[in-house]
């Protein structure tokens, strides 16, 4: 029986468990790839390298969700310095004060229980 491929999601989550935000790099394209996958969307190559982000980024866009019950909360898109974008949220700040262009730093949030860790962000010191 041929070896099973490990899922990109599980590799990603293993890094998060270690406190790391992992992404992929496509040598053929010379570009970062996110979300993690088996095939490079730029070239079709199956050769994708795993890398670990330095965890610094910039808010690309932001919204504040107002649920029917409970407090409003932030949802944001973050452009990491390595050249990939992900959905996340910015914590430690009033959700309405999250600004596009704001510099942010990774913090791995561990919800506990069955929930896997999540990459959230906080304002870079002095810029909040």
């Amino acid at each position: 029986m041929p070896a099973k491929s490990k899922s990109p999601l599980n590799t990603y989550l293993e890094h998060l468990e270690k406190g790391e935000l992992a992404y992929q790099f496509s040598p053929a394209a010379g570009k970062a790839v996110f979300y993690p996958r088996l095939v490079c969307p730029f070239t079709g190559s199956t050769d994708l390298e795993w890398r670990v982000s330095k965890g610094l980024g910039t808010v690309y866009s932001t919204t504040v969700v107002h649920p029917p019950k409970g407090n409003p909360y932030n949802v944001a898109l973050i452009d990491c310095d390595e050249g990939f974008r992900l959905m996340s949220r910015v914590e430690d700040i009033d959700p309405m004060r999250v600004q596009i262009g704001q510099r942010v730093r990774l913090r791995v949030h561990r919800p506990g229980g069955e929930e896997p860790p999540m990459p959230v962000f906080v304002p870079v010191e002095g810029r909040a």
Binding site: F34, Y60, V65, P72, V75, L86
Partner: protein, 388 residues
């Protein structure tokens, strides 16, 4: 960008019959296939064809996995050609291109395109399966609103677009709806009303977001030759274009530029027309930002100028450019996949059937569909007899 339109012949097919099913909040126990079938029967009646003439069936809905089979069974059809492309609300604009292609190739001669939804009656959560995206869902975005809200926020940041300008889109849609007896919400609406409504996902209040209604309908497509012998004036398909840029909002390359740039370019090229030739735009307004983005991306105004463009009632009934003349997804009807209604209204405008909301001398109409979270864009340009 898809190349499906490249092989299509301008004006080779036409939409000849259109109809809504029951809309708004439909009778208890009504199924989505009931609504599709009701739409098909009405649309056939609209053009004078019968079920015996139908040999192509296209459908899309979120509430039936194999809807084209269910619809064929219901109507007693064994068509030569079926299509079930489902790319969200723009599916029906894709179906028009696919039906036209099948008709040109002789794979079918009369195609119905049908839609049905009972999302208001059964609740939005029941109407479509929730898909977990492990890279987005943990952050609890309120989808699809939060995705469009982030596009709006980015547009505001880059171009200075204001919440008042977004609200102007909702107000214009409501003013059109007041001229449409079939519209769901016809109460007066002001910019202040939009701004002070319940916040959903900043910068959107509930009035920046489409309605949640039931509804469905059908359109009938046949060859241009056959179209000329039917009851109503044909709406010729002059141009089609499609573009799919992403699925999830975190993978959208630029939140201020949609695939409508590519789909519009392809459709205009096939139609040999430009934005200035269009008399009415039916644009998929799931959210107020959509109308602004599509006016820009379809070349009506420059990128970044859409907010200023919609100010002062310019796209309303008293304005200079008629947009979303049925009241749109914001005020007329939005059962979840609104794209079929864009085609219905565009055809009615070209025929001159729109009563109080009729656009004068309407010869060219654009129906621009959007699906997912700005993910799939499809432009259909329709024209009356004078344009072919």
């Amino acid at each position: 960008m898809s190349t499906v339109a490249d092989g299509l012949k301008r004006g080779s097919a036409a939409i000849v019959g259109v109809a809504e099913s029951d809309l708004g909040e439909v009778a208890d126990g009504m199924s989505v296939i009931d609504l599709m079938a009701q739409g098909v029967a009405r649309a056939l009646d609209d053009c004078g064809l019968t079920l015996k003439d139908v040999d192509g069936v296209f459908s899309a809905t979120t509430q039936s996995r194999l809807s084209v089979l269910a619809l064929c069974e219901y109507l007693g059809l064994d068509p030569r050609f079926t299509g079930s492309t489902i790319v969200g609300g723009s599916s029906f604009e894709y179906h028009v291109a696919h039906a036209m292609s099948a008709i040109e190739r002789g794979l079918c001669s009369v195609a119905v395109i049908a839609y049905g939804s009972t999302q208001r009656s059964i609740g939005r959560k029941q109407a479509s399966v929730r898909e977990i995206n492990p890279y987005e869902s943990p952050f609890n975005p309120f989808m699809p609103s939060s995705a469009y809200a982030m596009a709006a926020a980015r547009h505001m940041h880059q171009y200075g677009t204001t919440r008042e300008q977004l609200a102007a889109v909702a107000v214009a849609a409501r003013e059109w709806a007041q001229l449409n007896p079939a519209a769901w919400d016809r109460k007066p609406l002001t910019i202040q009303d939009v701004l002070s409504a319940r916040m959903v996902s900043y910068p959107f209040t509930v009035r920046d977001c489409c309605l949640v209604t039931d509804g469905g309908g059908a359109v009938i497509v046949t060859s241009a030759d056959r179209a000329r012998s039917l009851k109503k004036k044909p709406a010729y398909v002059l141009g089609c274009g499609q573009s799919t840029t992403h699925s999830a909002i975190s993978s959208m390359p630029d939140l201020t530029v949609t695939g409508a740039v590519a789909s519009g370019k392809a459709a205009y090229a096939m139609a040999r027309l430009g934005p200035a030739d269009v008399d009415v735009f039916e644009l998929y307004d799931a959210f107020t930002i959509n109308t602004i983005l599509f006016l820009e991306d379809l070349g009506v105004c420059k990128k970044g100028e859409g907010g200023a463009f919609v100010e002062g009632g310019r796209i309303g009934p008293k304005g200079s450019l008629p947009v979303n003349t049925n009241g749109g997804g914001l005020s007329y009807c939005h059962p979840g996949m609104y794209g079929l209604f864009l085609l219905i209204e565009a055809v009615r405008q070209l025929r001159g059937e729109c009563g109080e909301r009729q656009v004068k001398d309407c010869e060219v109409a654009v129906a621009h569909g959007n699906g997912g979270v700005l993910s799939s864009q499809a432009t259909v340009i329709l024209g009356n007899e004078a344009t072919v």
